[in-house]
Symmetry: C2
Amino acid sequence: MTNPVLVDVTRGDLVESRHRGMVAVVDGDGSLVFSLGDIDATVFPRSACKAMQALPLVESGAADAYGFGNAELALSAASHSGEPAHATLAAAMLARAGRDETVLECGAHWSFEQPVLIEQARSMEKPSALHNNCSGKHAGFVCAACHSGTDPKGYSSYDHPIQAEIRGIMESLTGAALGHDNCGTDGCSIPTYAVPLRGLAHGFARMVTGTGLAPQRAKASRRIIDACMAEPFYVAGTGRACTKLMQIAPGRIFAKTGAEGVFCAAVPEKGIAIALKCEDGATRAAEAMVAAVLSRFFDKDTPEQTGLTAMANRALRNWNGMHVGAVHAGALLTR
Amino acid sequence: MTNPVLVDVTRGDLVESRHRGMVAVVDGDGSLVFSLGDIDATVFPRSACKAMQALPLVESGAADAYGFGNAELALSAASHSGEPAHATLAAAMLARAGRDETVLECGAHWSFEQPVLIEQARSMEKPSALHNNCSGKHAGFVCAACHSGTDPKGYSSYDHPIQAEIRGIMESLTGAALGHDNCGTDGCSIPTYAVPLRGLAHGFARMVTGTGLAPQRAKASRRIIDACMAEPFYVAGTGRACTKLMQIAPGRIFAKTGAEGVFCAAVPEKGIAIALKCEDGATRAAEAMVAAVLSRFFDKDTPEQTGLTAMANRALRNWNGMHVGAVHAGALLTR
């Protein structure tokens, strides 16, 4: 099927570019609450499923043993901007396990956020693995392995116990069979598995409702989701969409982006979760889409709904600050 | 009509994202040589039409009066990376007209290219208008105005003589009627006009063939196109697609990108020009598309065709340098 246009990018009075996509909203039972486009298509969740990948850190008892609070758990589920507080906390997590950044297998990159990159360029020769947006997730893997008495070396590979455990967790949460056939390699070198979009949404709905989960997993899931909602800065960073979405409705919205236009989100009080993908992989469109879909679950004219609607209709300004157009998720805002 | 998928972005063995688009290839008479998608749809050419916008600089006699060679003309048709050589040459152009950067109305921004941005962050407090990717084009506007005895102040506005002249030039080249109805504001604050994609291609085919143009315009057009092909670094910069495309076949390929997934190109010896747009505005897809379409006009297994095909099938590597996928314009490479 051809996915519908969900976001228009306008210039003056005309549409300049269009973004297609698919959206699945489900409850804890997996019942479809809302959908658009081909939700049975498989998508790589990329970083949008980091909260699932953080479960071994909690379920193994490592998080308790190392005294991790909300900030550490949020960072373990983060795609952070590499701001000093992010890198420092990732290093502190590794130190609790008696390790340092040399154990990290994620590679290094400059921040994707221009203001952070400029500060990095002025303050360091080059970024380290601690500045990689995935360093918190990798620190979580290392901590889970070390606490369990497993050698963390090679923790990013398909056959390492930590990745095998994550594969099993993601199979049970999403209902999809995962293996080499639907496996790709993520930017940070760990496996990423293509799963049906609807199953991805169901996985997050299970995490926020606990429906069908063993008590220990239900508790660990909510602990991670709640930690992200409590410390949204550590999930992304200054000015970032995930952080802003969770700040709009503190404790009421969970949101996590993934590369190539994926976004997962949940409204725990409504018992629903959202998974969406912009067909072409555009972050700007996925951000507008998720804000628009979330806005449907908040009452009209509330600050939450107003804030979400504003993110779903973002003005574009040029280098002189002139308003030249907008990124507009109009198709999703209609109630 | 629904535009076809022209570029796949793969991860492992699976397609992760898809880019749709439209492509028009025409000759000097405007006859269609090749097309895909809705080529009658209007698109904002954005920076892809800078060679057209540089015509007043040459036709007014300003370029000769100020002694501009290929580098200056290439810069006047450039979206450059803000490297020191670009900013220095833009300043030199303005100095020939007795002006400096304070006359520029384009606004300032950091380089879009990470290595350049890092050097800028380390060497300057903030970028100036000379570092704006459009500074050469704006310097050309200022020089054309000054040489003609027109006050350059307000040269970026719709009603200034320089923009009115450009509007007329673009109407005659593309065959489209331009006015407030199809006008938007570009990133650098000048008007940009939505024109049918096919007309945009025809405009460039006219420029490279001279078909239907007055002798003075035909000569000025080829002078600008030839200058870009002779000095590809000044059209874009280190590692950039326009520069690489023109370096693959020196003097045989003209190529110019525009924001939001537009690309214009020409193969003068074949008498054809290309205009294309990625529906969603993605640069990575437009670059793969234009390389693939250009490859169709070069003999199989030549260095030119091999180089273009490689750009149309770009490998994606992660932070550890692992090959994780590709940007693949397969639908356009089939002969």
